[in-house]
Amino acid sequence: MTPSQAMRFAILQFPASNCDQDCVHALRVLGAQAKLVWHKDTTLGEVDAVIVPGGFSYGDALRCGAIARFSPVMQAVSRFADNGGLVLGICNGFQILCEAGLLPGALIRNRDLRFHCEQVFLKTANFETPFTSGIRRDGVPIRIPIAHGEGCYFADASTLERLQAQRQILWQYCDAQGAVTESANPNGSLLNIAGIANDRFNVAGLMPHPDRAVEAILGTEDGRSILTSMISALETRRTQSAAAA
């Protein structure tokens, strides 16, 4: 794909974001364009998708993501999402999207009070979304790293029921065979939830880092299929809107 056709990603940058460059690198490896957007910017520019990256925005003061979500750029992200734009939050980005109300629930302190930095296995629970359509469907879980102290997903009972009924749970922590078990749950997340989408399936968040898993030299390339799912979904959208025009 030539640069003029490549999908354009905005990677948000807050004070103490630390995976912004990882996201830029991963997307460029996958042939997409990526640019950083400073949190004080009030517009995103001409982009096809937004990634809210990992890190420790504002030093996790008050609650993870609580301050970042009031940054001016988040109003632009909210408008972008309202218009159907694809938004993915990774790790601290997931926490920010939950704090902003763009995704339901909250991320709280890990059950064992420890920071977990390790590879985990993920079962994809819904393949019919722009974030998951390209993930392998042979029952083999994908392996992606996590690095967080506050990744325990919580939502009240009625929200969890709705997430299940509407198939908004995208990824669950599982063992190497793909079984969703208590011992495969690194942080105490309810229903082993590692990532979810909103009810329109254009906004998603996950604690694991696909951005750190796109090159074999880093131990796993399984993160590719999440990002390439987004790129494919955007290509389909572009083809469809070109056909309609």
Binding site: L62, R63, A66, R69, F70, S71, P72, M74, Q75, S78, D82, C98, E99, A100, G101, L102, G105, A106, I108, R109, N110, R111, D112, L113, C152, F154, A155, D156, A157, G188
Partner: protein, 110 residues
């Protein structure tokens, strides 16, 4: 939808608490005290660990510990308690607490 506020409006929120503006008017400094606790349904591993430690130390009769946060906010002298209460309850719901996981108690004291 995100509410239409950002940093500047958070700053304005504190400025919106009216002061009497009377020359020479002096009154006691006021404080707002905000106690934030995790909701009952929310896992509180810190509280559980502290409860276990108390038990091991021999403090009998402790049946549970919930660990939360305490925020003390200084208010300009002469601030109306009613106005401060209204503004800070709003700030508590929008920003200072996450209603998905936390409950809070706000107290305005002189």
């Amino acid at each position: 939808m995100l509410p239409e506020i950002c940093f500047t409006s958070i700053e304005k929120l504190s400025h919106s608490i009216p002061s009497p503006g009377l020359p020479g008017f002096v009154s006691a400094a006021m404080k707002a005290k905000l106690v934030i606790t995790p909701k009952k349904a929310v896992l509180d591993p810190q509280g559980k660990t502290v409860a276990n430690a108390l038990e091991h130390m021999g403090y009998a009769g402790v049946t549970g510990v919930r660990m939360g946060k305490y925020i003390e906010i200084d208010l300009a002298p002469g601030t109306s308690a009613a106005d401060a209460d209204k503004a800070l309850n709003e700030a508590a719901v929008r920003f200072l607490t996450n209603p998905v996981i936390e409950d809070y108690r706000l107290e305005i004291v002189e």
